[in-house]
């Protein structure tokens, strides 16, 4: 019995030894085995192998995107099938640049599945354009077969090729509408030399300054785009192009506010102010415009009339309305001016100035207790009619003048008195001696009915002042005409000038 056992055992031993060798190598293979065979296959191989995508595959090869798709990172391809590509204008297909833009408009980095848009996603394509992707559609194209996962990304097959759109800036430059607007925008171009990227070809013998190689290291840019970058594909604007007529209308409307002594400057200022606020954040549908729309940056309040829109262009980074008329709130256009008390330009004479940080309420239970403001306090200067000068750029318009001063100290009368010592103060324009506005008497204080006094946190109306010319003007805060300390203190949070157009 033992002998039989022995023979079998030897055989079994040998067999087991071999089995060990094999199995120990295989354990991971089994664990890591790809359950979906496509996950080991690249996108390009699938596209090239799919007969319904033969045209797309051909164009991939033509445009060089085939090698891009071989890179080791994730892509999403919305591949138009052959029928869709056959419907594309041959002019595009035959133009290498346009074709590349077209094919690049269907490929993006990273994996995007139809489950992700909630409800929509703007996906950046390899041609740098963004395309809206929803759970069923890729821009206007319907997704026929979606969410096929491969080793390096996702494939969706769509029924329409999406022609890349121009962005707003490109459209403005090529559309041929709004010529004056375009001209004004282009006038804001400027160029700049980046010394680090420039190449020195010699030095000026006289000045010793370097001479740069022409055309290298010089960058062109536009002042308008610095603020509202309607050329950026990733931004999303609703942009208004004014017809020439509308532009001129606007210019006429705004001209009085920008009146200066020099006509050309007035003209330039007016034109800039016409185009300044024509970009609106986000995309609005012409048919469902809200009653109030705010421009970017300066928040001009528009009331756009859809009937004034004479054409619409769907740009890659938003929408363009070509309009023959625009309506907006003029106050929001020319804007109130606020002069902070602590940001004075100069003083009549060198004195100790206090810039204080104060609470908006002295009551700890008030929510305002934890909000603060800064103000200016000049005390004990001993000068009659002492003044502080501020500078402000004002438009040629009538302003209502308000100011806020909060006196939250010395709120009990001196011994033996029933009333406080007040800081008489007035505001003067142009010169400190100007007297269009009168002295305000009880600055910063409210006299309560029970004989006590409280700080006045409200703005106080000081009068009206009409500015004749657009430009920078001195605004003065003038103290009481006494030298007595305690009676000629200057206290100011801010001065507010509200235009009355």
């Amino acid at each position: 019995m033992i002998n039989i056992f022995k023979k079998q055992h030897q055989f079994i031993m040998l067999f087991m030894a071999l089995a060990f060798m094999l199995s120990s190598c295989k354990k991971w293979d089994q664990h890591n085995e790809t359950t979906d065979i496509y996950l080991n296959q690249g996108l390009l191989k699938e596209i090239n192998g799919n007969p319904a995508l033969s045209l797309f595959s051909k164009y991939l090869a033509q445009t060089g995107y085939d090698t891009v798709l071989l890179a080791s990172k994730s892509f999403t391809v919305w591949a138009p099938d052959n029928i869709a590509l056959a419907a594309v204008d041959p002019q595009i297909l035959n133009d290498a640049v346009k074709l590349k833009a077209l094919i690049g408009n269907h490929i993006s980095n990273l994996s995007f599945y139809t489950t992700e848009p909630k409800p929509s996603l703007r996906v950046k394509m390899l041609n740098n354009k963004n395309v809206i992707f929803t759970s069923a559609k890729f821009d206007d194209a319907k997704i026929i077969i979606g969410n096929q996962s491969f080793g390096n990304g996702v494939l969706h097959i769509v029924d329409k090729a999406i022609i890349p759109q121009l962005n707003i800036w490109e459209y403005l430059n090529t559309s041929g509408t709004g010529e004056i607007q375009k001209e004004e925008l282009l006038s804001l171009n400027y160029s700049l030399r980046d010394v680090t990227k420039s190449e020195i070809i010699g030095y000026d013998q006289v000045t010793g300054n370097p001479i740069y190689k022409p055309g290298v290291g010089v960058f062109n840019w536009n002042r308008y785009l610095k603020v509202n970058d309607i050329s950026n594909e990733d931004s999303l604007y609703t942009y208004i192009i004014l017809t020439d007529q509308a532009f001129n209308d606007q210019k006429t409307k705004l001209a009085p506010y920008f009146l200066t002594d020099i006509a050309t400057i007035s003209d330039s200022l007016t034109k800039y102010n016409v185009i300044k606020d024509l970009a609106i954040k986000g995309v609005y549908d012409k048919n469902s415009l809200p009653s109030q729309i705010y421009s970017t940056k300066d928040s001009v309040i528009y009331q756009l009339d859809k009937n004034a829109i004479i054409s619409t262009y769907k740009a890659s980074n938003g929408v363009v309305f070509v309009m023959n008329r625009i309506d907006y709130d003029m106050v929001s256009k020319i804007k109130p001016v606020i002069i902070q008390g602590e940001s004075g330009y100069t003083l009549q004479a060198s004195k100790t100035v206090q810039t204080r940080t104060r609470r908006n309420s002295l009551d700890p239970t008030s929510p305002l207790y934890n909000s603060y403001f800064k103000d200016l306090l000049i005390e004990n200067h001993g000068t009659s009619g002492f003044w502080v000068k501020y500078n402000a750029t004002l438009k040629a318009v009538k302003y209502k003048v308000y100011f806020r001063a909060v006196r939250d100290f010395t709120l009990t009368p001196a011994t033996g008195k029933t009333d406080l010592d007040y800081f008489r103060t007035r505001i003067a324009f142009n010169t400190s001696a100007a007297t269009e506005l009168l002295y305000s008497e009880k600055v910063g204080v409210i006299a309560n009915s029970n004989g006590t006094f409280s700080p006045n946190y409200d703005e106080v109306y000081a009068g009206e002042y009409t500015v004749a010319k657009y430009g920078t003007m001195g605004v003065y805060l003038v103290a009481n005409t006494v030298t007595t300390n305690g009676l000629n203190s200057l206290l100011l949070d801010y001065i507010k000038l509200v235009p009355v157009p």
Binding site: K6, F20, K27, H31, T35, D36, S74, V123, S149, G153
Partner: protein, 1075 residues
Amino acid sequence: MQIFTREFRYILLPVLLITSVFNLANAQETDTTLSKPVSAKDSIAAFSQRSADKIKDKVTGYILESYSGKPISGVRVSVKGFSAGITNDKGFYSLSVPNYNVVLVIKAQGYQTKELALKGKKSLNASLYEEGFTSIYDQAHLPLADAPKYQVPYAVESINTNDNWSRVNESPEGYLQGKVAGLKSVRHSGTPGLGANINIRGFNSLNASNQPLYVVDGVVYDNTEFGRSLTGAHYYNPLQNIDLKDIDNITVIKDAGTAIYGTRGSNGVVLINTIRAKEQVTKIDFGVYGGYNFKPLNTPVLNAGEYKTYLSDLLRTSSLTAAEISDKSYFNNDIVGNNDYYRYHYDTNWQDEVMKNSYNKNYYLKITGGDNIATYGLSLGYLKNEGITNGTDLTRYQTRFNADLNLTNKFKAVANLSFTSNNQVLKDQGITNKTNPLYLAQVKAPFLSKFDVDNAGLVSPNLSDVDLFNTSNPMSVIQNGKNLDDNYRFSGSFGLIYLLNKSTTIQSTVGITFDKVREKIFIPNKGVVEDTLRNAIAYNRSGSYVSRLFSVYNDTRINYKKTFNRIHELNTNLGLRYNMNKSETDLGLGYNSATDEFVSVSGGQAALRSVSGTIGDWNWLNMYANADYNLYKKYFLSLNIAVDGSSRFGKETTNALTLNGNKYAVMPSVGAAWLISSEKFMADAKAIQNLKLRVSYGLTGNYDIGNYAAKQYYVSQNFLGVQGSVRGNIANPQLKWETVAKTDLGLDVSLFNERLNLTFDYFNNDAKDLITYEPVAAASGFDYVITNNGGMRTRGLDFTINARAINKVVKWDIGLNFSKYKNEITKVPGNLLLNNFAGATYITKLGDQANLFYGYKSNGIYNLQTQATAAGLVYLNNQGVAVPFQAGDVIFADLNGDKIIDEKDRQVIGNPNPDFVGAISNSLSWKKWSFDALLSFSVGNDVYNYQRNVLESMSGYQNQTPNVINRWRVDGQVTEIPRAAWGDPAGNARFSDRWIESGSYLRLRSATINYNFTFKDKAIKYAKVYLMGNNIVTLTKYLGYDPEFSASNGLFTQGVDSGLEPQFRTVQLGVRIGL
């Protein structure tokens, strides 16, 4: 039962004492172990004289060689203390015997020794196996005496370390793997010399040590880890200081036979005897070994391309926008305009950089010999074993000198001296994710280079710094980091044995151990992620650590041994053991030295430097008495009792013996055996060579309860630069040892003239008073108090079968052993205990097994959003807000049905304890060839694969296994792998059965082919050539590097693959020359 036990030990103690004293008074002539070997001539003379006095009964027979059937001449056949005979050319012997119930002892050079009972027969033939054959007649080297194994009433296994010259790089614990049924040896890691976690018959303690007691040449060998290595997951293993080739034999006591060691015996005892001269002829053995270590197979991880694809998908789920992701320079494949192109377009196989094949070598010289006055054994060794982690190695110098001196006829002396020095270069392992090169090699982004690369793609010879994902460069750790461990141990013992009269001996052994470990570490700034200290950022780190142990051991005993009327044999001992230990560890840490060139602690910033240390002194006193009795060599009875005191015990311990105000543990044990095969009625059962029934019961203890846990102590504390002392613990003056009551029922069977040997043991270990950390009220200022409030019961069985399958010119021995255990918690504070390690949670619950994995059960993933919505399960995010699971998330079982997946839904998901472990051994010899193979296996243990948890969690920058390619991506996708999600908000990678794998394995642990050249009349007597392999093949489904690892000896780290160096395959060629 408990009451009985207590009574029993108090009764037993005086009985034993009285017996011992009584016996001493009645000492008279008999054989003792110390008597000089009776030469054949003397014996025959004695026989002639005696036979002249009285004609005795005669026995005749033939002694044959078992495999050839040829007669053996010159075999000595004797009746102990009565008569002896020698076989002639035909193998015939004739012998007079006092009666026909005696036992014949058969001894021959080059053959095994046998002891056969006559059982009333007048003739007895025997066939002998060659020397070294594993036999029931082998000597078991027990704590107090040597005895043939068949006479021992305890569960004892004795190992002839004949193969120790072919297991060169093994530490003794690693060698023990698969050698003994019931001894589970799990090697800590593949780091050379690190040793193994050894459990004999499962475990008997929750928080105290579960390691057996080691006794080397009669002196307790301290193998505990005190102090803590500065290198991650490294442990000092004192046992590595014993060269396996120095070991003559090992005996393992598994049951209550360990009670003689009192409170140190609960986890079994391993007795190791080192080189002694077996004969007086000078024998010189010289061995030279050289070998090759194979680096383990890499864990498959994503290549650079796959990784980038995965990463781009993962980052989509982070807070980054699509544009931000696409703009990352590692996704940008344009060479022009991308300054980082070259830096991020590599495809580095980090594992190939970190792991390498390496070499090992070993020189070893052993000389034994002497004369009739003194014999000695001397060994010298040098070993260098490189690890598979690049840059790691172990160098060892070792020497040992053992001498036996016959000072006078009655006075003997024994001296044992050994000195071993190790120098080891290590690297961090385990959960040190900033500095563990093996971990870093798996998770580091493959598109990075190990060197600095400039914008133009030129490669610098400097290693690259921490990468953009804040992952260290493993090569920096390897090349610029330092983890040096230099340690040595001196062990010396000197024993005197005085033969008072022929029955009584007095002996005393004094042993001294001096052990020192010195570690230095440095973690550079460049290439390694900085660490955060309490008040600073640590850019580079240095450390210096010294740990010292000094211990004195004494064992003094009086032995009385006598045979009465050749019927009763009595062997009694009364003794005292004393062990004094002093340990000290000193630790200095430095941070932020000026440059990575200043690598010592003194180079660090003064304000950040920290110095600390510990002192641990403890004493142990063990008074013991023992009586071994047998009748007709058929009925065996053994009684032991130990009375233990220790400085660790509390002064107010209840239920304990009190002497002079100190508390003592009383540990009695009894073992009985019936050698059924020696009964007359078995005379005709020729197939049965040996049949023995054993039963033992006794109390053993565990004194590993902390040096000062019973006392109130103070620790130093720094508060704003002012030093002070604060209370360090809540004292528990009632703290006592852990007690384990061990019961064993065993059967030893030997059939067909020893061609088939079986041993079967059933055991029940009942542990009580286990050390527990009981939580205390927060107002106390402490987290826990140490109490004796645990209990558990471990039951199991051991089974060994050894067979000589072929016994011809070709000899083939095959053996199988296996053991299983199952434990049950019988007492635990609060009925439940949770422990955490490496993200795993263990539950220890009343009525259940200890240290089970406790986590979430998963059941695939939600493939469809509708499925997830329908299930309606939620998880609480880190703000406590309930968030519904979505498609692609794992379906976790909602145990309590509240629709919230939280901690309450955890359940037992695995058991790190194996169903059974064991080994298959093979030994094949043919002429001068021999072949040995050992297969070890472990079945049914679960492993938490922490490594794979990281490598498949899909939540961060860590590289992943290719398995993640199958991840869920889109609604309706059929897959089992969840979605990639940055930061894993839904906890898909939480501790769940997804990471629990089967740790079962079958491993060809070692295999040796040996050819033996013999030379006649030459200077060289023989030369043996070995071709050896270690860990040759492993059959396992476990996905990690290796299924065998043990993060520490503690119970609550078992089965967690925390990222240790794996076991690796080694092939060695060696030559042993005998002079």
